[in-house]
């Protein structure tokens, strides 16, 4: 099998897609180096979260980040890994608080990574003594036991804002409802369609579609977050055009 055969195979086309996607991310990162935060549309949820972090620090309240039970592998794992970027930024900003943020997850690997992210963040900013492994918790290992395990975190620990960023199912409504009952802000995003549908009703600030994946760009987690958003926008339009052309060709009977 020569290189051309490999490239025109479905796997080869997938590889080409990834390489072009990565290339465009890097190009946009270099081009937008001096203009961080520009070309981002306003998402109220992230502005409200930024303010909520400040208010929590002032009021001596806690922030709670929930990473779901999706683990770290497969499609559903990526949203939890993205949630860790949010954890890192929130931990930095809330590091001067009397009550450092608490992170809950429903899977062992995510639990370890949340502890590691908190530990690394506090070490980086010279506040290593702020870290306690109890801040990164595994709350339950099935979807409903996880939701039940998260509720005491919200009710008993003076939580003023809850961020749900990861893979959830419909049980996420129980967590969002608990946050609502304690008058806290709930910002919720997931890769799961089912969870997103529930979040629209139950969360104050739901993140729909790929808005969760934009979180890194909005919380200033690094230049590649903003550039990957631009790459996603372009590739989305490319895919839309391909779908429409495909539908039109099918309609006229050419394929």
């Amino acid at each position: 099998m020569n290189i051309v055969d490999i490239l025109i195979s479905p796997e080869g086309l997938g590889l080409v897609f990834l390489v072009v996607f990565l290339g465009s991310m890097i190009v946009f990162a270099v081009a937008g180096k001096n203009r961080p935060g520009q070309n981002l549309r306003g998402i109220v949820a992230f502005s409200r979260l930024g303010k909520a972090v400040g208010l929590a620090v002032e009021a001596g309240k806690r922030l709670h980040i929930s990473l779901g039970w999706g683990g770290v592998s497969g499609m559903q794992g990526i949203s939890g890994l993205l949630g860790l970027s949010v954890v890192e930024r929130i931990a930095r900003l809330a590091s001067i608080s009397d009550r450092p943020p608490v992170v809950s997850s429903g899977e062992g690997t995510l639990g370890i990574l949340s502890q590691d992210t908190l530990s690394k963040t506090y070490r980086t900013i010279g506040e290593a003594r702020q870290y306690d492994s109890g801040q990164g918790r595994v709350s339950g290992l099935t979807p409903f036991s996880y939701a039940a395990g998260v509720l005491p975190n919200i009710y008993d620990e003076q939580v003023s804002a809850t961020v749900l960023a990861g893979h959830f199912g419909s049980e996420v409504a129980l967590i969002a409802d608990a946050s609502e009952r304690t008058d806290g802000l709930t910002l919720a995003g997931s890769d799961s369609i089912q969870a997103q549908a529930v979040m629209v009703a139950a969360a104050q600030e739901p993140l729909i579609g790929e808005e969760l994946y934009a979180a890194g760009a909005y919380v200033n987690a690094g230049p590649l977050h903003a550039s990957s958003l631009r790459a996603q926008d372009i590739f989305r339009w490319v895919l839309v055009v391909i779908i429409l052309v495909g539908a039109a060709l099918k309609l006229v009977g050419l394929i």
């Binding site: 490999i6 796997e11 990834l18 990565l22 991310m25 961080p36 520009q38 981002l40 549309r41 306003g42 992230f46 770290v72 990526i78 860790l84 930024r89 930095r92 899977e107 062992g108 639990g111 370890i112 990574l113 590691d116 992210t117 530990s119 492994s133 109890g134 918790r137 595994v138 709350s139 290992l141 409903f144 036991s145 005491p152 008993d156 419909s170 049980e171 129980l174 969002a176 409802d177 609502e180 890769d191 369609i193 997103q196 009703a201 139950a202 579609g209 994946y213 934009a214 919380v219 200033n220 690094g222 590649l224 977050h225 990957s228 958003l229 790459a231 996603q232 926008d233 590739f235 989305r236």
Partner: protein, 226 residues
Amino acid sequence: MGSGCDHPGWGSIETGGADMKIPVAAAIAIAFGLVVLAGYFLPLPELVSLRTILVQWSMIIASTALFVGVANLLRVHWFKLRKGGTASAYSFLLIASLLVTLVVVGLYGPTGSWSLWIFNSIQFPIESSLMAILAVVLIYSAARLMRRRMDLFSLLFGMAVLLVLLGSAPIFGIEIPFLYGPDGLRSLIVQIPAVAGARGILLGVALGTIATGLRILIGADRPYGG
């Protein structure tokens, strides 16, 4: 994505996590990630077998992480129990249940009669009752949505929920003619606009997943502590 906006409270981008120095842990993670990815795309037998071995290792590590997770759960509730207060009773119950289950499953195996009794008589009913509570919570949340964000989309959401619910099953044996059945309005909503919307959302999620995966692969995001 539109233009110019301010994101209050998030500080400057320079404090972000995109440190371009690559420590050893990150270099190893990136190398392994590239090998696994290449194994999916390039049909080289050595690469495919290496990918299989690495994926198997990751499964073993994930299983070990499960034990670490249980230990973490135990630790958190042990501290809550020692702290006292009303919530400590729940922590005691959790620790006692965990230890009893561990002993029972250890003695009789995961398919033993007592192990299955714990699952069927305790865990399953409790999770089912949580699911029942969920139905009430969702109805309450939908009503609260109308109060919190009364706009066109909320109204559309509420109407769609109502139509799909009414069309899902006969009410007291009465079928609503234009809603119920394979040609009813419910089927129309579920099969056309809902599927189209879900596919659109999944398209965005897939692109977001690719972007996040690539950032991790090149070491711009390092959730593995490097």
